[in-house]
Structures are given as structure tokens and as C-alpha cells.
Point group: C2
Chain length 220, copies 2
Amino acid sequence: MKKVPDKTRVKRVPQRGIYNKEDIYKILDKEFVCHIGFIHNDIPVVIPTLYGRKDNDLYIHGSMASRMMKTLNEGVEISVAVTRVNGLILARSGFHHSANYESVVIFGKATLIEGKAENIAALKAVSDHIITGRWEEARGPSDKELKATMVLKLPIEEASAKVRTGGPKDDKADYDLDIWAGVIPFTRTIETPIPDEVLRDGIPVPNSVKNYGQEPSTKK
Amino acid sequence: MKKVPDKTRVKRVPQRGIYNKEDIYKILDKEFVCHIGFIHNDIPVVIPTLYGRKDNDLYIHGSMASRMMKTLNEGVEISVAVTRVNGLILARSGFHHSANYESVVIFGKATLIEGKAENIAALKAVSDHIITGRWEEARGPSDKELKATMVLKLPIEEASAKVRTGGPKDDKADYDLDIWAGVIPFTRTIETPIPDEVLRDGIPVPNSVKNYGQEPSTKK
């Protein structure tokens, strides 16, 4: 087995650490918002943003005018975290309260996507990740829009996942206490789509929306 | 109106920027997982963790052995982001696709909570934030547990929120297209609590669990 570099190795509760690519992809594919950390004027900055995963790359897009995108484009080291919370763990002791979660942290340097076809392909990767089939339904990017948009690619190389599942783990003596313990599970519910107030008559709900969250590969 | 410092000012789509404390607290109180950014060995690191908000402070707790907690305790600058995603925005153009969200970003230096009573009060603040009433039900912290736990406090001073609500905003010409546009809203559903497999007989579901998510002040 490949040695895990120190930066990437899960430090706290190391038995929860996962370095297998397929497991990392599975978590990345459930979400579409990441938190990017970068250094700007010697200060660490964390910003939430949308992303797409395709093959072994994470794609992040934004405005050419964005401070974050400009900084990331300088080839600086960044850190990206994706987190999904699945429940609260209520233990008998306050100390062992916790949460069930799945998270991925990636380190590396993002590189700018160059070339028109390459930019379109990268934007499609983001769109396909967030909502399958929408790219083909929506009006495609104009040259002006492409010029205003920057897409960056981060290889999923220095990456690790951390997962907690199951119920509470209490100290042995605490199992005798008359205190309820268990899990409050959370799920994300997709509510009925709301058409735009000024949507023209006769436009049906498209397949991308009908199928949203239905495909096992896109369990959002 | 107080001038907003450059670091905190929302740069992209500045009309979405919010600097009002009550609005910032409201967003912080809906969530309990933040992403902390800090610099470790010259590299930006982003880690998800639980937090609690009380008055004008954010409390973060962790193990004394945690690399993050040790680094934060050195009085370094950190950035904390809290994000809630409320929906996907489907515009007629790919370019105007977006998400509805509420996010807060805080900058500052965390300080270590010192003193036994102060540590217990800070841990209670985290517990009360995450699930009201649970502190009183669970077994309180032992001296050993208190010694193993570090609690840090970050003032909510250099803070801003960013919120997007409503439907899609398309280019004028695109409103004539035969393309569906609207919002796919998300909500968090609290599922039926799952008692610990080895829970002793006759222990009823406590009030903290029964009331979870019911109080308007704790809309988790």
C-alpha cells in the first residue's frame, strides 16, 4: 500500500481515515458545495463555492473578477473540504456526543483551464456533476460568458476522507446510567420544484428536474 | 454606518453582503458545522468541525491532541465559514445557474478558554447550540475529560454574511427561450431518532430529542 503523505493523513481518530479513490469519489459525488481555503495577504480565507468532480479532477468555476479565483490562479496551495452531516450522536456522557458525517479534504494547486473547447468541457463537467442532463437543456455559453468565467482544475491526488457512522460509543461505566442514547438522523429532502414566476406558458418540467436525486449515482 | 473593513467586505455580488449582527447570528444558529481555515506549515488547511454560538462568540472544542486545536491555540489568524444551501437555481442559460444559500464568514484569532468553570460554561454553550436541553440530560464532564478537551473562543467581530434567495435571473433576451427555469428547493429532514442498540429498557426518548428542530430558535 502506498504510504500516505503526512499532510493528507487523518490525524484525529485515524481509524476513520479513508484513502481509497472510489470511496472519496462517492462522497464528492453526493455534494456540490465545497469550502476552499487559500492564503490571501498572509491570512487564511475560507469561501464556500460550487464544484464538479470528473474522473480524478475537481473543477471550480467563478468570475474572472473574483478575488478567490484570481488568487487560486496564481498557482498557490489550496485546501478543499466537502462535508455531509448525516446525524447527531447523543451519548450518555456529554463528552462522547458527536456527529455522523462523511468528509473529504484535498490539498494541492489548482491550474487554469485554457482553450475554448477545454473550458466548455470543464463547465459541462461542473453542470453534469450538480444536475445530470441540465447542460443539454439550458442555453449554452456565449463567447462573452466564457471570457468572463474562469475554470480551475484541482487533481484529487493529495486527498483523504473521514467517515463516522453508527451509534454512540460510551465509556464502559456509563452504560449503566439511566440516560437515553442514540442517533438523530438527517436527510436532505428535495422539495417540489418551483417554476420561475415569469416562466412562459406550456413549458413542461424537464427531465433534469424530474430525475433530480433519483439516480443512484447522483444521490444529492 | 460603520465602515466595513476590506477583509470582511463581500466582494462578489456585494448587494448580497450582510453585516448586521442579528442576521449573522440567525444563520449561525441554523447550523452547527463550520469549516475552519488556518495555516499550518505554510499551507492553508480547511477542516470541518462542530461549533456553538453564544452572544457574540463562536466556541470551537476539540481534543488537546488535535493538530487543528494546537495550531489555533497559537493565536494565529483563522477564517471560519458556515454555509447552508437552500436550493438549486435553474436559469435558462447555463451561465446564470446558481444556488440559494446563506453563509457567514468570520475572520479573527481564537483564544483559549481558561479555568474549570469557564471551560464548563463554554462546553455547555456548544451543547446548547447544537441541541437545546441535552446538557442537563447527559452525564457532565469529569476532570479527566476537561483536561483532554480544549475550547477556543472566536469573537464574531470581523464577520459578514452572504445570502441568495428567490428565483433565477436571466439575461433579457433569454426570457423568450422555450427553456424551463425555476428552483429546486432543499430542506433538512430530521428522521425518527434511533435508540442505541444496547440502550437499557424503560428509558424514554428525552425532551431534547422530542423538541429537536421544533423550536423556532433552533431551526436545525
